[in-house]
Symmetry: C2
Subunit: 353 residues, 2 copies
């Protein structure tokens, strides 16, 4: 026991450690450790010493040093989330849903944005693994994804979201692309559209592939040939560029099905730029129902994916995987819902049949 009169309360000098608490309480470090880890409940510690220790600990303002603990236990209680773009509102909703579940479970969330660039992804993931994250939520998977393969090879728990990969061994929470695309296509067909084009997302991304395939199959079943083009990124600019090309090549187009809302926004711009109007001349359907979809002009008809729920499911699945790494991988499909708004309408009366 040191000078317990004044010497104690030197705030801000150095964070108190277990040893400080032990010395002050007149017990051994390990006893303090046991108490502060709730092992006192197991009847292993005297009521009296427990109280004394807790008392000293709070008086000294003791806080666990999670670094030391992590080094000892091998767990950091930190998980990483890799997204294509933090500036994307759809992603933000997912982040929120995941964050809430994680914090409730005592975990912290590290976030990285890759700009949808595999090279970025590699360095970001390296950083996350560098801080010894206990697991990763990976939202930038490519069909053939070496970065992801590396994560899996290191036995780091990982759950994919939004996009699947060619790895059967990893869990995923994905939108039901087929169901969503069907809703959108049937909506357009029901309105009377027969000249529908598809603005797809980036190549080698599962949602792009799935939505495109669904689009083509659904139309083919009605004897219609689906026209499409892929964007390089999920941005308004790319939606604009691709739609403009499609409209030039296929001026008979009366509807655009976009692989996501940002592409849809770009499509609407392109339609305007071509001197046409949405939805009077050309209808547009998006995907995701990102926030503010209802406030654009025109408001966006889109396939809603519940972002908050999706994020929550990703986080829960990851937590389960961390708790039991041996559990078989699961793939969850999130059921979409069609939200009809102002960007779709019946096609104009045909001038040339």
């Amino acid at each position: 026991m040191s000078s317990s009169v004044v010497g104690d309360d030197t705030r801000g000098s150095r964070a108190p450690t277990l040893r400080d608490v032990a010395r002050e309480a007149g017990v051994h470090v390990s006893t303090v450790s046991r108490v502060l880890n709730g092992q006192a409940a197991a009847g292993r510690i005297t009521q009296d010493t427990e109280e004394r220790i807790r008392d000293v600990a709070s008086r000294l303002g003791y806080r666990h040093n999670n670094i030391a603990r992590a080094l000892r236990t091998g767990r950091t209680l930190v998980v990483g989330m890799v997204v294509p773009d933090v500036g994307n509102l759809y992603q933000a909703g997912i982040t929120r849903g995941a964050g809430d579940v994680l914090y409730a479970g005592g975990y912290s969330l590290i976030l990285a944005s890759t700009d949808d660039d595999p090279a970025h992804a590699e360095s970001q993931v390296a950083a996350m693994l560098g801080v010894q994250a206990d697991g990763l939520m990976y939202g930038v998977a490519r069909e053939d994804d070496p970065v992801l393969a590396g994560i899996v090879a290191q036995d780091v728990p990982v759950v994919l979201f939004n996009r699947a990969a060619d790895l059967p061994a990893v869990s995923a929470v994905l939108p039901d692309d087929l169901a969503g695309t069907r809703m959108a296509v049937e909506h357009l067909l029901a309105l009377g559209h027969r000249h529908i084009v598809h603005v797809g997302g980036p190549e080698a991304v599962s949602s792009t592939v799935n939505r495109l395939a669904a689009f083509e199959n659904l139309l083919q079943a009605r004897g219609i040939t689906g026209i499409h083009r892929l964007a390089r990124r999920h941005t308004e600019e790319e939606g604009h560029r691709v739609t403009r090309q499609l409209l030039e090549e296929h001026p008979e187009t009366t509807a655009v099905l976009a692989a996501n809302d940002r592409l849809a926004l770009g499509a609407i711009d392109a339609i305007r730029d071509s001197g046409r109007s949405c939805p009077d001349d050309v209808s547009v359907v998006g995907f995701n129902d990102m926030p503010y979809s209802d406030r654009f002009s025109p408001s966006l008809t889109t396939v809603r994916i519940s972002q908050y729920e999706l994020g929550g499911r990703v986080a829960r699945l990851l937590l389960e995987t961390i708790a039991d790494p041996g559990r078989p991988p699961e793939t969850h499909l999130v059921t979409p819902e069609l939200i009809v708004r102002g960007s779709t309408a019946v096609p104009p009366a045909e001038t040339s049949t």
Copy 2:
């Protein structure tokens, strides 16, 4: 699990440590450490051994264990960012700017969202301090903020952004509220508006206080009394609620100055709901120029704060503070810019003078 008969090359069994590399290369652990930390450059290591070590390291797939390193060095290379709402696009831009600077500096970013609730802030900050973050970017400051005071008391490097606090000892990067408000008010005055109301943000937040004071002073200088009401949160719903009240109490209103874009969006809704039109009957000016401000209907006239730049400056300032904790605090003001769009127009001809 396979049997570890062969010993060495059981891939995926356990991450290789410095010791593994040292043994394999036939040198001592500390030598490996020196090489892998770039101290070889100081001419302290033989060309030959360096190559051999690097060789073995990469062959074994060695990665730094940052936990162990952090325990030793006392630095984690992780910084935390606390924002009111990850789902806010304005915040997302800031996060992006900060993230880029941080990653370039070898740091990782932990993100937490508090829902603008001080109780949340407390637990989120505790989590960040728990992972021994090297510093914090704090975007949820209140004027009198006990959570922030706690951070400062623990000598954790911190930089405020967006909102200031009553603590002189901490650096901050803030929008120039006075200049921004002046631009907005003068724009409205120039258009001929004389009945202007202000929808402020939450109480006890510096931007709310500053913008309100600027609003009142600027109008007073012209002999006009500024009417205002405060919202409880920076949301569309609150903007709607507050604006509706203001319009009921002051039907002569021809312009609304909102303390941020989301409030402005709500204001526009309220104007519509009251049977009036924006901008024909009532003009609206926002603050921030958040993404998509140009795509709403009407598009938003607003005071732009360069989000990416602000985020970058926050991160740089924090990095500098971490590097030199003794440096005197700085306050940076980010200069705003008025973006005139479709939500402002000349006021309608007065019916009753």
